[in-house]
Symmetry: C2
Subunit: 230 residues, 2 copies
């Protein structure tokens, strides 16, 4: 493990409140591995053998059905993923692949479940993490059900801008084709959707989006009354 990485992982909400010694047990039972780009980490239907923590790089979670794929989430460092499958000890509902070279901590699922049983702080953190994830999915589902594609894009821009906190400028970290799939549309239509929000206060230039008129954009995208958690 590189210097600075362990503290960074320790700062994760999931592990933050644990006893130092317990956390050390998790680290020593896990593997930190480097993966090349475009590598499949696991596939839908497999038993959940590991909890994953993305330390550096970029990972895509996607689901497949009916001959198609759709990306469910783009994971940025430092974040854990696929926690629900580990907790329930049931097969993964999504597949995962690296988008770029990535450093990933693999925590054996059995170890995590064991630790959860004995460490109240870890159990509480897990519970909380799942509750937050649940709410994110509720938002994603309502978004999909009641907004059309350009509105979804507008909301994503607004939400990213809030998370990046970078004064009206949003940096798109993933390829646009991936964004399209995340938003539940085709690359072609994402392109057109950027055209649409261009007339509503947001300008694209490559992978940079500038919000030129937030009020207009919000009027168009109708963001959720209840924002990402707190």
């Amino acid at each position: 493990m590189r210097p600075g990485e362990k503290p960074e992982i320790s700062r994760l909400a999931l592990f933050r409140e644990m006893e130092e010694a317990e956390r050390e047990r998790i680290f020593s039972g896990s593997f930190l591995q480097v993966f090349p780009p475009q590598l499949t980490l696991f596939e839908l239907g497999q038993r959940a053998d590991f909890l994953y923590v993305l330390v550096d790089g970029l990972v895509e979670l996607y689901a497949n059905g009916a001959g198609r794929d759709t990306t469910m989430r783009i994971v940025e460092p430092v974040t854990s993923f696929i926690l629900a499958a580990v907790v329930t000890d049931t097969p993964y509902l999504m597949s995962a692949r690296t988008l770029v070279a990535s450093r990933i901590l693999l925590v054996p699922a059995a170890l995590i479940r064991e630790m959860i049983k004995h460490d109240g702080a870890l159990m509480q953190a897990t519970m909380h993490e799942l509750a937050l994830g649940y709410r994110d999915l509720v938002r994603a589902l309502t978004d999909m059900k009641l907004r059309q594609s350009a509105e979804r894009l507008g909301n994503l821009i607004l939400q990213q801008e809030r998370r990046q906190g970078s004064g009206g400028v949003v940096q798109l970290r993933a390829e646009k084709r991936l964004l399209a799939s995340l938003l539940g549309m085709t690359p072609e239509n994402l392109s057109r959707a950027f055209g649409v929000i261009g007339r509503h206060g947001a300008e694209v230039d490559g992978s940079l989006v500038r919000i030129t008129d937030r009020a207009a954009l919000e009027g168009f995208a109708r963001p959720d009354p209840v924002k990402a958690d707190d």
Copy 2:
């Protein structure tokens, strides 16, 4: 509380493993109330004051945005709902209304959070419940993203049939207009979708659906490789 109700609530996965005494503390701090049909229990954006347990009746959870509503879940007895908002102590992301006269246990959110902190079994059950709910939502979201409407209907029929275990016959408990909203379509198109699956091994008659050719229906609907949990 009626005879038979308390045992039924105690059998809920959420409360099943708790100490008898602790469970009693929850009951004694809660209110069992009867609500008329079509009554709004709470609305999106409100603080999460209660955890709800539907004891008898039928409840709809729905979200609103962009001037429209969409139903997110139809709750049947005996089930708890809106757990994630209670755990995170954040505003509800959905609204709830009774569909018919309903008996509902209201557990003060503060009490639940307090009990979770002190009762490991309750915390574990909560964690598990949230993980299962998370996975349900992942399925719902992929369903929405990669299947078209008649396929979604087909899957719902198959899933209900498995849950009801009633040999090829499914009883629709809610109005069709509600089903339509749950499936993310209009009542008109639900009607047409029933027409479509009629040609793929499922027949409707009022609120009864008969699966006449499961293989055909599965071939058409392409059900998830990983089913509802385990």
